[in-house]
């Protein structure tokens, strides 16, 4: 089963490496990874997507929690968190096909970023599932480059479980 972990860390050299090393060392695979600053200076948030069992997830959380630079580990539980991801894609689009592609993309919330003689660059921000659908849509036109940022998220403000779920604290 897939899980999203939000890891808040001190912004120190090697903080990210220590987390990814721990994953590699214990044989856990990272599916997506996004790193960026937070509202607090000197504090970054690392969002990881992992495919593992519940037992492995608990191990991961506890192992991450032991790292000295890690301030907090929270699982973003589906339905109780808002998750977003950004996709940027360069699609092959001859002039006669271009209008159709751009119209469809815009209908899905995509935006045109650049237009070239044979291709266009589009972006879409949305849930990972929306990005999957957008990806499919672009496919028949011929995708030249596609990158995704990896998902980021925060707990819903309406969520009943407002406190971060911290498996690290056993008792």
């Amino acid at each position: 089963m897939k899980h999203t972990l939000s890891v808040v860390v001190e912004d120190r050299p090697g903080a990210l490496t220590r987390i990814t090393t721990m994953f590699a060392r214990r044989g856990f695979n990272i599916e997506s990874l996004a790193v960026g600053p937070t509202e607090r200076p000197g504090v970054s948030c690392i969002t990881l997507r992992v495919d593992c069992t519940q037992h492995s997830l608990e191990q991961i959380e506890k192992q991450i929690h032991k790292l000295v630079n890690v301030l907090r580990v929270t699982e973003l539980v589906a339905g109780e968190a808002v998750e977003r991801e950004l996709l940027v894609v360069r699609v092959s689009a001859a002039p006669e096909k271009r209008a159709e592609l751009v119209t469809t993309a815009e209908a899905l919330g995509g935006r045109l970023l650049d237009v070239g003689p044979d291709a266009v660059v589009l972006e879409l921000t949305g849930t990972p599932e929306e990005l999957d659908a957008f990806h499919e849509l672009c496919h028949p036109y011929g995708i030249l480059d596609l990158v995704r940022t990896g998902r980021i998220g925060v707990p819903r403000s309406s969520s009943r479980r407002r406190a971060p779920r911290r498996l690290a604290a056993i008792n």
Binding site: P13, G14, T17, H55, K62, Q63, K66, V68, I170
Partner: protein
């Protein structure tokens, strides 16, 4: 003062009395500061691996943080084995390494290596100090992290220019580590629940690991065991946490543990793991380990709870507090007539009588077990610390040397580092000069770190090496004989080359050779009596195998036992 001076003032402020190391280019400014004077004794090792294991031996014998110091590049990489060993065995260690100048980092400079990168999976934390003004706070944090929570190694990498920089030094009173919050309290409800289950168990066993020693909980453990009349088994790492001469001590679990101990674990209804981590060498086939038992797991490290075996009642926190609280609660239950498990204790005693450790004697050969039994006879009741290498001799030492005091048995359990014994013994002697320190070593292990004997003689840290010399890499030989159809592949070392006794003399010590049982007691007694570094080369039966044995991945009940005329002899004949 310089950064080098600041490093030494920091060690002094931490109360460090000994550090172990070797100088080299990138750490020279700090060694220059040592030449100007420091209250910290420096023990000059002959190899950085030796320095690291000495620091480990010091830490394990004293309960304090061990300090090893080395230069950049090869000096630092030579510390990798001790760091990995300290990581696996949770030994508190601060390693200080020199690094090339800041301006040269990343340029593949002479003796440059990314030691913080190399060691990342095997340290609790590491720092590359980039500003001399951060030295005090960094070292303060390093010592704090090494010894708080679950103990372990940390590394502080310090570029040469940082050591040379001029700095106004002050050692901070507090550490500033917002992300480092190891458990400090124990949940009383968990303790109460654990005590109820333990006190009402019909067949309880305390399965005690090295965390009990690290957590300084040995007195509390004794109180718990006695309060509840609870039988204790100690793992290799937990050995010496509970007096092995005590009537409630029932041996050692695992691959080469005693049969009665493994039967106890296999049959118990409540298994109380105290600072133990269900290592594969203890459990064998995990699904068949202590089947059906309710598991109470006490540990400082929440990540150990349910890592391998699901805990029914986890108790996370400092073990000293946890075990003390548990002892009080169990005592209360016993006072309220929760019965002592008399039948169970009688059963364990019966198993111990029925299945003692056994080996065959021979006219032709001295047996390794006889060597360990002699050592036990001669040291019983005295203030002795035993260290070991890794292999057959280590297992015989576990089986035949009875540890009576906490921190008196020091061995490489998790990583299984051959060559650990001699330097660890030297470190232990530096920590406890009043104790007699004996390294039980194998001939294979001896040759991995023998150069440190000169450290022992020159630094006046005398140790006795009892060399169980079977002329082979004995444990590998045993496995080849048992599981590889007897095909011996590169395990023969020869018994007389090197000449161990003369080697001891070459290093400034005393050498002795024992070839039969008649010489044994007198030689060991003399070695223990001398206040010098001695190597007693005991030439033992190369065919001797360690029994009992639970083959890797097998269940406790699949144990192979010694038999004088049975199939094991046939295995040996192959």
């Amino acid at each position: 003062m310089t950064g080098g001076d600041a490093i030494l003032r920091s060690l002094e402020a931490e109360g460090v009395d000994v550090m172990f190391g070797i100088p080299g280019g990138a750490i020279m400014p700090t060694y220059d500061a040592m030449a100007r004077g420091t209250a910290v004794r420096h023990v000059l090792a002959r190899h950085e691996q030796g320095a690291g294991h000495m620091a480990q031996g010091y830490a394990r014998a004293s309960g304090r943080v061990g300090v090893a110091i080395a230069t950049s590049g090869p000096g630092a990489t030579n510390l990798v084995t001790p760091i990995a060993d300290a990581w696996m065995d949770s030994t508190p260690l601060v390693c200080i390494t020199g690094q090339v100048r800041s301006s040269l980092i990343g340029t593949d400079a002479f003796q440059e290596c990314d030691i913080t990168g190399i060691t990342m999976p095997i340290v609790k934390h590491s720092w590359l100090v980039q500003d001399a003004r951060e030295l005090g706070a960094t070292l303060k944090a390093a010592f704090h992290v090494a010894r708080s929570g679950r103990c372990g190694p940390v590394l502080v990498d310090i570029p040469r220019d940082v050591q040379e920089a001029t700095v106004d030094f002050s050692y901070p009173a507090e550490v500033d580590l917002p992300g480092w919050r190891p458990p400090t309290k124990v949940h009383p409800l968990q303790v109460r629940e654990a005590a109820r289950v333990i006190a009402t168990a019909r067949k309880p066993v305390l399965y005690v690991g090295g965390g009990t020693l690290n957590g300084d909980a040995c007195a509390e453990l004794l109180r718990l065991a006695e309060a509840g009349s609870l039988p204790v088994v100690t793992t290799l790492m937990g050995k010496s946490a509970f007096p092995e001469t005590h009537e409630l001590h029932f041996g050692w679990p695992g691959m080469h543990g005693a049969k009665w101990s493994n039967l106890a674990l296999n049959s118990c209804d409540v298994l109380v793991a105290i600072g133990a981590r269900f290592d594969d060498r203890v459990t064998g086939k995990l699904s068949a380990f202590a089947p059906g038992a309710t598991v109470v797991h006490l540990d400082i490290d929440p990540a150990e709870i349910s890592k391998l075996r699901d805990a029914d009642i986890p108790v996370v926190g400092p073990l000293r507090t946890a075990v003390a609280a548990l002892a009080d609660e169990v005592a209360r239950h016993r006072a309220e007539h929760a019965p002592v498990p008399e039948t169970w204790l009688a059963q364990l005693r019966a198993w111990r009588e029925q299945y003692p450790l056994r080996y065959g004697t021979s006219e032709e050969w001295l047996k390794p077990q006889q060597v360990l039994q002699s050592l036990q006879r001669l040291t019983a009741g005295s203030d002795v610390i035993v260290t070991t290498g890794v292999g057959q001799h280590q297992m015989w030492a576990m089986q035949y040397v009875l540890s009576e005091r906490p921190r008196s048995f020091i061995t490489s359990g998790g990583l299984g580092t051959m060559g650990y014994g001699i330097p660890a013994a030297i470190g232990a002697k530096a920590a406890r000069p009043e104790a007699k320190v004996v390294c039980v070593d194998g001939d294979g292990c001896f040759q991995m770190t023998a150069q440190e004997l000169v450290t022992a003689t020159l630094e006046d840290l005398p140790i006795v090496v009892v060399l169980v010399n079977n002329a082979h890499l004995g444990m590998v030989t045993q496995w080849q004989d048992m599981f590889f159809d007897g095909r011996r592949s590169h395990v023969h070392l020869t018994s007389q080359l090197p000449d161990y006794a003369r080697l001891a003399e070459a290093y400034g010590g005393v050498g002795m050779v024992v070839t039969d049982e008649a010489q044994l007691d007198a030689a060991l007694a003399e070695a223990l009596e001398l206040d010098r570094t001695v190597v007693v080369d005991c030439r033992v039966d190369p065919a001797e195998q360690v029994f009992p044995m639970i083959p890797a991945g097998a269940a406790a009940l699949d144990m192979l036992e010694y038999s004088d005329a049975g199939e094991n002899m046939e295995v040996r004949a192959l």
